[in-house]
C-alpha cells in the first residue's frame, strides 16, 4: 500500500510525458496566428477554428485523409487475410523448419526501411507502381506481415486444440473450423494485429514520401509535411491537420479496446 502514491506518480508522469507534445499540438490548433507567434508563448488558446478551416479547405486535408484511409485500410485487410492462415498453419501444423520461418520473419522485420528503399523503388518503377496506392500498399503489407503473423501465431497457439477437434467432429472442414470457431476466439489477436498494422500504415512517412510524388495520391503524413511553403511554416494548420489525422486512430483504438480486452476465450477450457 505504501507504494501506491509512488506508482500513481509514475503513471501520471508517463501519461503526461507521452501526451505533452500532443497536448501542445491540440492547444496550438485552436490558437490564432498571433497567438502562435507570440513571444513569450501563450498557453491557453482563444478557441479559434481558423486553422481547421484552412487545413480542411485550403490544404485539401480531407483528400489526404481519403488517400490514407484507402492505403491503411487495404494494407490492414490484405495483411490480415494473408497473416491469418499463415499464423494458423504455424501455430497448429507440424511443419518442418517452423521455428526458422518465425525467426526469419522477425529478422526481416528488423531491416531498416532505408535498406530496401532502393530495390522497392526500382521494382515499383518497373511495374508501374510509383504514384499508385497499390504501389504503397504492397511494401506496407510485406513490412507489417511479420508482426501480424507473430501476434496471430501467439493467439492461435494459446487456443486449445480440443476446440478445433470438437469442431471437426461436429462436421467442420479445417477451413470451417478456422473461421467459425478459431477466428471468433482469436478476435482479440485479430484486433491487435489490425490496429498495429493500421497505425503503421497510417503514420508511415518514408515510403509514402518516396513512392508518392503526385499530390493526388499522397497520404496524410506526406500531405501534412508538404503544407510547408517556401517562406512560411504554417504551424497552426499543421497542428490542426495533425489533430484531425490522429482522431481516427484514437477512435479506432477506443472502439476495439473492448474487443481486445474481452477475454473471449475464458471458459473455453476449465481451469
Amino acid at each position: 500500500m505504501m507504494h501506491r502514491p509512488v506508482l500513481l506518480g509514475g503513471i501520471l508522469l508517463a501519461v503526461l510525458g507521452s501526451l505533452c507534445p500532443f497536448l501542445w499540438f491540440v492547444l496550438t490548433s485552436f490558437k490564432s496566428q498571433i497567438q502562435v507567434e507570440a513571444i513569450p508563448p501563450t498557453w491557453w488558446p482563444d478557441g479559434s477554428l481558423v486553422f481547421y478551416a484552412s487545413a480542411l479547405f485550403e490544404h485539401r486535408l480531407l483528400h489526404y485523409v481519403r488517400n490514407s484511409v484507402t492505403v491503411a485500410g487495404s494494407t490492414t485487410v490484405i495483411a490480415l487475410v494473408i497473416a491469418t492462415p499463415a499464423a494458423y498453419a504455424l501455430a497448429r501444423l507440424r511443419l518442418p523448419g517452423k521455428t526458422w520461418v518465425l525467426g526469419g520473419l522477425l529478422c526481416v522485420a528488423m531491416f531498416p526501411p532505408i535498406v530496401i528503399a532502393g530495390p522497392v523503388w526500382q521494382i515499383l518503377e518497373r511495374f508501374g507502381g510509383l504514384n499508385t496506392h497499390w504501389g504503397l500498399v504492397l511494401p506496407y503489407v510485406s513490412l507489417t506481415l511479420p508482426l501480424a503473423v507473430w501476434i496471430l501465431t501467439t493467439f492461435f497457439h494459446e487456443l486449445p486444440v480440443e476446440l478445433e477437434e470438437a469442431a471437426r467432429i461436429d462436421g467442420c472442414t479445417t477451413w470451417q473450423a478456422l473461421y467459425k470457431i478459431m477466428l471468433p476466439l482469436a478476435a482479440p489477436g485479430l484486433f491487435t494485429a489490425a490496429i498495429l498494422t493500421f497505425i503503421y500504415a497510417w503514420n508511415e512517412f518514408f515510403f509514402a514520401l518516396l513512392i508518392l510524388t503526385d499530390p493526388e495520391q499522397q497520404t496524410l503524413p506526406v500531405g501534412i509535411a508538404l503544407f510547408q511553403g517556401e517562406f512560411i511554416m504554417p504551424w497552426g494548420e499543421i497542428a490542426a491537420a495533425s489533430v484531425i489525422a490522429t482522431l481516427p486512430l484514437i477512435i479506432l483504438v477506443l472502439l476495439f479496446q473492448r474487443g481486445i480486452i474481452n477475454g473471449l476465450s475464458a471458459g473455453a477450457v476449465k481451469g
Binding site: 486449445p160 480440443e162 476446440l163 477437434e165 470438437a166 469442431a167 471437426r168 467432429i169 461436429d170 462436421g171 467442420c172 472442414t173 470451417q176 470457431i181 471468433p184 476466439l185 473471449l264 476465450s265 475464458a266 471458459g267 473455453a268 477450457v269 476449465k270 481451469g271
Partner: protein, 372 residues
C-alpha cells in the same frame, strides 16, 4: 447404431511406437472401456477411432464400413473431450445446435433435438448461457448434450469425468450409465479410473505401453487377470504381487520369494473326485504370485487356507473398512478387511486367505490353478 472393429492398429510418432497391433471388436450398443495408466496410448487410440489422428497401420471399421479414408466429420461419431471443449463464444443452445447446423439439418429438427436433449440432461435452464457462466458439472452436461443431440452411431469419451470433483464424478458416472441404457448407442470410453471402468463397461480393455493387456468383462478382469500388470492395476488397494520362483513336485507347488515360502497343494483336494491335475507349465522357473488385499483375512482359517504369520506395520482406518499393512516373512502384504479395533501397529498376527483366491503368473501369463 453400429459396432466398431479395430484391426491391427499401429501408431508411431517419429521413432516412438505408441500402439502395437491393437485389435478388438465392440458389439452394437455395447459400452466399451479402454482402461490404462496415463501414457499407455488409450487416448491416441480413441483419436484414431475419431479420425483426428491417422493410424500408421491397420484399419478401423465403424458399422461394418471401413473408415480409414473417411475424415472425422463424415464418420458419424460424437466425442466428449476431457476439457469439454465447449465453444466459448457460443451459448449453450448454439453449442448444441452447431453440429446439426453443420450437417444442414432443418431448423424444426434442430429445435426438436435441442428440446429433447436438454430435457434428458436437465439443462434447459442453461440454454441461453455462455459456457463460462456454467459450473464444471454443468459444462460437463452440455458437453455430453452436444454429443447426444446429433444422434451419432458411435460415442467416444475421452476421460470425460476426470475434471470433476469426487462426488460429482460418482453421480455423473451413474447418470452416464443410465444414459447409455436409454440411448443404446455404442460407446467407447477412455479412462484411467478403474472404478469408472468397472462400473460402466460391458467390456474392458486394459492397456499398457501401447498394448492391449486383456479384454474381458469387468468381473473377468478382476477375478482372472491375464498378467501381473492387469492384476496390479485393477483393485484398490492393488493386488499383492510377489516375484519369486516356483517348483512343482508330485503334490504341491512350492513358491519362494526371498524369505517367503508358500506351498500350494493342488492334488490332494480334488472335490469332484476327478483325477489329480497340475498346472500346465514347466516344473520350475520364475513366477509371480498374487493375492488381493480383500481376500486376506485375520479370522479363523478354514481348511483350504494359506496361513502366514506377520507383523502389522500400519493400519489405515477408512470407516467402513480398514487397510492393514503387514510385513510377512520380510515381504510387505496389504490386507483390506472390516475394521479391527483390537489390532494395533506392531501386533503379531496370522494372516490367511483361501487357496483358490491365489493368482499365479508364469512368464507374465496367468496360469490357472487347478480347481482345489
Amino acid at each position: 447404431m453400429a459396432g466398431l472393429e479395430l484391426q491391427h492398429i499401429e501408431k508411431t510418432f517419429g521413432r516412438t511406437r505408441v500402439l502395437h497391433d491393437v485389435s478388438f471388436e465392440v458389439g452394437d450398443g455395447k459400452f466399451f472401456v479402454l482402461l490404462g495408466p496415463s501414457g499407455c496410448g488409450k487416448s491416441t487410440l480413441l483419436r484414431i477411432i475419431a479420425g483426428l489422428e491417422p493410424q500408421t497401420r491397420g484399419s478401423v471399421h465403424i458399422g461394418g464400413r471401413c473408415v480409414d479414408d473417411v475424415s472425422s466429420p463424415d464418420r458419424d461419431i460424437a466425442m466428449v473431450f476431457q476439457h469439454y471443449a465447449l465453444y466459448p463464444h457460443l451459448t449453450v443452445r448454439e453449442n448444441l445446435a452447431f453440429g446439426l447446423k453443420m450437417r444442414r439439418e432443418p431448423k424444426p429438427v434442430i429445435e426438436a433435438r435441442i428440446a429433447e436433449t436438454s430435457t434428458l440432461l436437465e439443462i434447459h435452464d442453461l440454454l441461453g448461457r455462455k459456457p463460462r457462466e456454467l459450473s464444471g458439472g454443468q459444462q460437463q452436461r452440455v458437453a455430453m448434450g452436444r454429443a447426444i443431440v446429433r444422434k451419432p452411431t458411435l460415442f467416444l469419451f475421452d476421460e470425460p469425468l476426470s475434471n470433476l470433483d469426487a462426488r460429482l464424478r460418482t453421480s455423473m458416472r451413474v447418470e452416464l450409465k443410465k444414459l447409455h441404457r436409454r440411448l443404446g448407442t455404442t460407446m467407447v470410453y477412455v479412462t484411467h479410473d478403474q472404478a469408472e471402468a468397472m462400473t460402466l463397461g460391458h467390456t474392458i480393455a486394459v492397456m499398457n505401453r501401447g498394448r492391449i493387456q486383456q479384454i474381458g468383462r469387468p468381473e473377468q478382469i478382476y477375478h482372472e487377470p491375464a498378467n501381473p500388470f492387469v492384476a496390479g492395476f485393477i483393485g484398490n488397494p492393488p493386488m499383492n504381487l510377489f516375484d519369486g520362483s516356483f517348483r512343482l513336485d508330485q503334490r504341491d507347488l512350492e513358491f519362494r520369494a526371498g524369505d517367503l515360502t508358500l506351498r500350494v497343494p493342488f492334488q490332494t483336494h480334488d472335490r469332484r473326485g476327478r483325477p489329480p491335475c497340475r498346472p500346465e507349465c514347466a516344473d520350475s522357473g520364475s513366477a509371480t504370485l498374487g493375492i488381493r488385499p480383500e481376500d486376506v483375512t485375520f479370522d479363523l482359517p478354514g481348511s483350504q487356507h494359506v496361513t502366514i504369520a506377520g507383523t502389522i506395520d500400519l493400519i489405515e482406518n477408512l470407516g467402513g473398512d480398514a487397510v492393514v499393512y503387514l510385513i510377512v516373512q520380510g515381504q510387505p502384504l496389504v490386507a483390506r478387511t472390516s475394521p479391527l479395533p483390537t489390532l494395533r501397529a506392531g501386533d503379531s498376527v496370522t494372516a490367511h486367505w483361501p487357496m483358490d483366491k491365489l493368482h499365479l503368473f508364469i512368464n507374465e501369463q496367468r496360469v490357472p490353478l487347478p480347481s482345489l
